[in-house]
C-alpha cells in the first residue's frame, strides 16, 4: 500500500492542478505581483460549484436514489458536529491557544473545504474511480453543523453569543445554495441536461480548476508570508495530524454506510478538510474575539496544501486498499 500511496502522490504532485497551486504559492512567497482579481476568483468558484453540483445531480439521476443517500448525509452531519470536539481537545493539548481561539479553529476542522473536495473528485476521475454523485449533498450538509459545535465550545468559557440571523446566513450562504441548487437541476434534467451543457461544465473543468488553484496558492502564500510567526510548531503539527484523524473517522463512517471506493475516499476527504470560506465569515460575526490569523493560516496555509498534495493520494490509496476497489 505504501508503494501505491507513493505512486499516487507522485502522479498527483505532477498534475497540472497541483503545479498551478505550487506556482501561486511560490509567486506569493517570492512577492510577485501576480494576482487574480476578487471578481474573477468569485466567478471561477461559482463555475466550479455549479459544475460539481450539476454533475453530482446528473449522476444521481442516472443511478437512482437509495437509502444510502440519507445514511451518508446522516453520518456527514455526525462528523461535522463531532470532529470539532476532537480538534478542540487536540488543540488544548498540542498548542497554547486560548479557549476562544481553539474553539474557532475547531469549528473550521469540522466543516469542509469544497475546493479540496473538487480536487479529490478530479483525482478520482483521472484514475477512473467512480463515486456516488450524492456526495455533493453530503458536502453541503457538512458545512454548517461544525459552526454550532465551535460556538458551543466557546460559550462554555463564557464567550460567544447567539447572533440573530446567523444560522439563516450560514444555511443560505451562496456556496451551499449554488451547490444544492445545481445538484437539484442536475438531478431533474439528468443525462440529457448534462449532455446539453457538457461542453461548458465537463471539458473546461480541469482548466478552470487549474486557474482557481493558482488563486488559492496565491492566497495561501500571501497568508503564510504575512502571518509567519503566528503559528507555533504544535499548531502546525495539529494542521497535519487533524486531517489524518478526520480522514480515519471518515473512513469508518464511509464503510459503515457501505459507500463505494470513490465514495469512501470522498468521505475521508470531507472529514479531513478544513473550511476557509464559510466558517471564517461566521466566526467573524459570532466570535470576533478569536484571532482570524490563527484559524485562516492553519486552515488555508497548512491543512489545505497538505490535503491537496499528500492527503488526497493517501485517502484514495487507503480507500482502495480497505474496500478492495480499484
Amino acid at each position: 500500500m505504501v508503494l501505491d500511496i507513493l505512486n499516487l502522490a507522485a502522479d498527483n504532485l505532477l498534475s497540472p492542478i497541483i503545479l498551478c497551486f505550487v506556482l501561486g504559492l511560490a509567486a506569493a512567497l517570492a512577492r510577485s505581483d501576480l494576482s487574480v482579481p476578487e471578481a474573477a476568483a468569485k466567478a471561477l468558484s461559482i463555475y466550479l460549484l455549479f459544475a460539481i453540483g450539476f454533475k453530482g445531480g446528473a449522476s444521481v439521476a442516472a443511478h437512482g436514489l437509495d437509502a444510502r443517500l440519507l445514511a451518508s448525509v446522516g453520518v456527514g452531519l455526525v462528523l461535522s458536529f463531532g470532529l470539532p470536539f476532537v480538534a478542540f481537545a487536540l488543540l488544548r493539548v498540542m498548542t497554547g491557544l486560548s479557549r476562544i481561539d481553539a474553539a474557532a479553529v475547531a469549528a473550521h476542522y469540522g466543516s469542509i473545504s469544497i475546493v479540496t473536495f473538487v480536487a479529490a473528485t478530479s483525482v478520482l476521475e483521472g484514475r477512473a474511480i467512480s463515486s456516488e454523485g450524492y456526495m455533493v449533498a453530503v458536502a453541503a450538509a457538512m458545512e454548517a453543523p461544525a459552526i454550532l459545535s465551535g460556538l458551543w465550545l466557546a460559550s462554555r468559557g463564557g464567550t460567544g453569543h447567539s447572533e440573530p440571523g446567523l444560522m439563516r446566513e450560514i444555511l443560505l450562504n451562496g456556496s451551499i445554495v449554488l451547490l444544492l441548487g445545481s445538484f437539484a437541476i442536475g438531478a431533474i434534467t439528468g443525462a440529457e441536461g448534462l449532455e446539453r451543457i457538457s461542453s461548458f461544465i465537463v471539458s473546461p473543468f480541469q482548466g478552470v480548476l487549474c486557474l482557481f488553484l493558482l488563486d488559492m496558492g496565491l492566497v495561501a502564500g500571501r497568508g503564510l508570508r504575512e502571518q509567519r510567526g503566528v503559528l507555533g510548531l504544535g499548531a502546525v503539527g495539529f494542521g497535519v495530524l487533524m486531517p489524518l484523524i478526520g480522514a480515519t473517522a471518515g473512513l469508518g463512517m464511509g464503510l459503515l454506510v457501505g459507500l463505494s471506493t470513490g465514495g469512501v475516499a470522498l468521505m475521508m476527504v470531507l472529514a479531513a478538510s478544513a473550511s476557509y470560506i464559510a466558517v471564517p465569515a461566521a466566526m467573524r460575526v459570532a466570535l470576533p474575539e478569536a484571532n482570524p490569523s490563527v484559524y485562516l493560516t492553519l486552515s488555508l496555509g497548512v491543512t489545505f496544501p497538505f490535503n491537496l498534495t499528500l492527503g488526497i493520494p493517501i485517502y484514495v490509496a487507503v480507500a482502495q486498499t480497505v474496500t478492495g476497489g480499484s
Binding site: 487574480v36 476578487e38 450562504n173 492566497v219 471564517p280 465569515a281 470576533p288 490569523s293
Partner: protein, 102 residues
Amino acid sequence: MQTHTAKRVEIVIEAPLERRLTDALVKAGVTGYTVLPVLGGSGRSGQWTREGQVGRSGMVAVICLIRPDRLDGLLEAAFGVVERHIGVVSITDCEVLRAERF
C-alpha cells in the same frame, strides 16, 4: 452658493458585519449611506488584501453624511455593532448643498 454644515462618518468594518451595521443605522434614523469596497490595508490585526478572496471576507467602508444634531444617535447605533470587531470609525466636518436631505 449656500452650503450647510454636516458630519461625515466613515466606518470601516469587516464585510460579514456590513448588513448588521446598515440595519442598525437605518433603525437609528439614518436616511442614507454609501458602501464602498476596501481593496486592502494594514493595522493592528495585520495586513490583508481583497485580491483573490472568494468568501465574504475583507473590509467595507460605510459612509454617512448627517446633520450634526443627529451624530450621537448614529454613533451609538454604530458602536453597538462595531464595538467587538475589527474596524475604524472616524468623523469629519463637511459641507453639503441640500441640508434637507441629511
